[in-house]
Symmetry: none
Subunit: 208 residues, 4 copies
C-alpha cells in the first residue's frame, strides 16, 4: 500500500519549532543575521522555506527566538548556585567548573554570545535582554560573592565588579577563541584547563 518514493509531505511531531531554532542558531552563528539566508535555515531543518514562516513571523523574530531561548537553561543553573552556602574559594571554584563545563559541552552558547556581540547595534533590544537576563545577574551574583569574601577577610581590597570581570574575561576569551580562531587552524584552547589555572591564579591574587 505504501507508494514508492518519498512522500511529498510528511507530518512531523510538535518539535518542528525546535528543529528550526536549532538550524537557525547554526546558520546565524556562522553567517551573522544579515548574511544568513532563511532558505538555508529551512534546508538544514529539513523543511521548505515557507515552513519557517509557519512558526516564525519574520527572519528577525526567528533571530530573537534563537537568542532569547538560549537564556533560560543557563540562567537556572547559575541561580541554583546562589542558594548554596560554602566558603568563598570553594564556591568560586564550583561556579567556574560549572561554567567551563557548560561552555565546553554546549556549543550553542558560544554562537549566541558571538551573535549578541555582533548584532548589538542592529538589534539593541536583544543586547538589552541578554544583559538583563544573563550578564547583569551573573555579574551581580559574582560581585556579591566577592564582597562577602571581602567582609569575611578572605579577599583583599579592590573593586568587586572588576574582580568578577577579571575572573570572567578568560571565559569569554576562550569561547570566542573557539568560535573565531580554532576554525582557521589556531591551536585549540582546553577551556576547562585554562579556567582552572586562571581561577587558582585569581584566588591567590585576590587574597589579602
Amino acid at each position: 500500500m505504501l507508494p514508492p518514493g518519498e512522500p511529498k509531505f510528511r507530518r512531523r511531531p510538535a518539535d518542528r519549532p525546535e528543529e528550526i531554532l536549532a538550524a537557525a542558531l547554526e546558520v546565524f552563528a556562522e553567517r551573522g543575521f544579515a548574511a544568513a539566508r532563511v532558505e538555508e535555515v529551512a534546508r538544514r531543518a529539513g523543511v521548505s522555506k515557507g515552513a519557517v514562516y509557519l512558526y516564525f513571523e519574520t527572519k528577525e523574530a526567528l533571530f530573537r527566538a534563537v537568542v532569547t531561548q538560549s537564556i533560560a537553561p543557563n540562567l537556572n543553573q547559575v541561580i541554583g548556585l546562589t542558594a548554596v552556602e560554602v566558603p568563598f574559594e570553594s564556591t568560586v571554584r564550583a561556579v567556574f567548573t560549572m561554567i567551563s563545563q557548560r561552555m565546553a559541552s554546549d556549543w550553542r552558547m558560544s554562537g549566541v554570545i558571538k551573535l549578541v556581540i555582533a548584532e548589538s547595534r542592529n538589534q539593541p533590544e536583544l543586547a538589552r535582554i541578554w544583559h538583563e537576563a544573563m550578564i547583569a545577574p551573573a555579574l551581580g551574583l559574582a560581585s556579591r560573592l566577592i564582597e562577602a569574601g571581602q567582609r569575611q577577610g578572605a579577599v583583599r581590597h579592590g573593586d568587586a565588579r572588576y574582580f568578577a570581570m577579571g575572573l570572567m574575561g578568560p571565559v569569554l576569551l576562550s569561547t570566542l577563541w573557539r568560535e573565531t580562531f580554532e576554525p582557521i587552524g589556531a591551536e585549540p584552547v582546553q577551556i576547562d584547563r585554562l579556567i582552572a589555572q586562571h581561577v587558582e591564579t585569581c584566588l591567590k591574587g585576590m587574597r589579602p
Copy 2:
C-alpha cells in the same frame, strides 16, 4: 606633513582612501559587513558612491583593507616592547598599561576586534591574517615573557599560554563590553582601572 598655506578644509585627493577607510570602519563596526551599505560609507566619507569604487575593487576588498590596515600601528607598538629588557613584573605592567591606554583612546580597535570575531566564518582569511599578524605574535610574546619569568623563578609553574590568556581575557571583555552593553545603558567599565587591578591580581597569583 601638510604643505604650509594649504587651507585645511580643502580636501586633497590623496586623503580620499584614508577618509573612506575611516568611514568604512565606522559603518562596518556599527552594522557588520553584510548590513553595512556602501552608500552610507560614501556619505560619511563625503564622497559619491562611485568614488569608493575608484579606490576599492569591491565591498569585500574595502572590508579587508579596513581590517588589515588596523594591524600595522598596533603591531609596531607591541614589538617595540620586546626590545626592552626589564624585570618581569615591570614589563607586564608596562605592556598592559600601554594596551589599556590604546584601548581607551583608540575607539577603532574595539570595532575591528568585534568585526573579526563576527565575520570570521564569512571571511576566514581575515581571521587568519589577524591571528597571524596580531594575536599569535602578541600571545607568543607574552608566553615567552612568562616562560622567561618561570625560568627566573619569578612565576610559578603552569601553562604559560593560559597565563597569558588569563591576563588578556579581561581586556577583551572590557572592550566588547564597551561595544555591546554600554550603548544600551549598562554601567560603563573604566578599562584602565579594571586592567590595573587585574594585572596586580594575576601578578600576585602567578608568583611561586
Copy 3:
C-alpha cells in the same frame, strides 16, 4: 424545503458550496480577485482551506462560479417583464422600480458588478458572459421597448440604445457610489428616490 425537525444550526454538507460561494463573493467584492485570500473565504464559510478545493478546482474557478451564479436569479426577473404588455411609460416605471428594489435589497449585485468591471481585463471571459447573459439582453429589451414607444409616437426621435443607457446610467452610478464612496463617509444615496426622480425626468424628456 428543509426536512422538518432538522435543527437549522446543523450544517449539512449539501449547503457547503453555497456557503463557500457566499463567503467568496464577500471577500472578492471587498478585496478584488488578486488580493482575496482563499483562506479568508474558507474562514468566513466556516470550513477549512482544503474544503474549498473539494468543491472548486482553483481560486479562479471559484471566482467564475461567484460571477456566473449571480446571473440566473436576476435574469429570470427581467425576462418576466417582457411578457407583460402595458403602456410604454408604465412599463418603464415598473422595470426601474423593480431594479431599484433589487439594487437596494440585494447587496450582492453591487459587489458582482464591481468585480466584473474591475477584473474584465484579467478575466475577459467573465465580462463576456456577463455581457451576453445580463447586459446585452437587458439593454436589448429596453431598446426594443423604447423603439416600440417610438413607433407608437410615445417617444421622440433618437437612438433607442442611448435612451436606454441614459435611463440605466444613474442606476450604475448609485450602485457604485454605495460600494465606493459611502464606506468612506460620503453622503448616502437613496437609490429608489434617485431612480424614481430620474425615470420621471427621462420619460418627460423623451416625449415627442
Copy 4:
C-alpha cells in the same frame, strides 16, 4: 567614437517619473493593483525594475501617485466653468460637451475611475481623496447650478443632487462600458453622441 551596440545605461531627462507613471497607469488599469507587477510597469516604461524604486518608495506609493496626479488637470478645467455666468441650459450643455470630449480623448481618466472603484476597499484613502478633490466638487458645482436654475424658474422641483447624478450617470456608464465591454467585442458607444442626447433629454425633462 561611438561604441557599437546599445549602451547599457542611458541617462534620460527629468521626465522619467512621468514615463513610469504613464506605464503604471496602463498596467494598473489593466490588471488592478494587486495583480499588477512592478516589473511589467518598468518594462513598459523602458527601465529596469530597480529604476521604479528610484522615483517611488513602494508599489503602493506608485499607485497613489497614479491616482492623485489624475486629479489636477481635470479639476482646473471644471473650476474654469464656474466663473462663466450664462443661462442654465447653455451652461449644462457646455459642461457636458467638455466632459464628453475629455472622456473621449483622455483615455487615462477611464482607467483611473475604474481603479478608484475597484480598490476603494483596499485603499480607502484614495477613494477619499478622489471624492474630496473630484467627485464632491463636481457634484456640488452641478447641484448649485441646478439650484440656481430652480430659483430662476428654469428647472422644476426636485432634488438637485439627484438631478446632477441623473445627468452624470450615463457618463460613468459609457466610460466603464468602454473599459469593460468594448475590449470583449461589445458594440462601442459614441460617448459624445450618447451624452448630447442624454443632456437634451434631461434638460427637457427638468423643465417646470
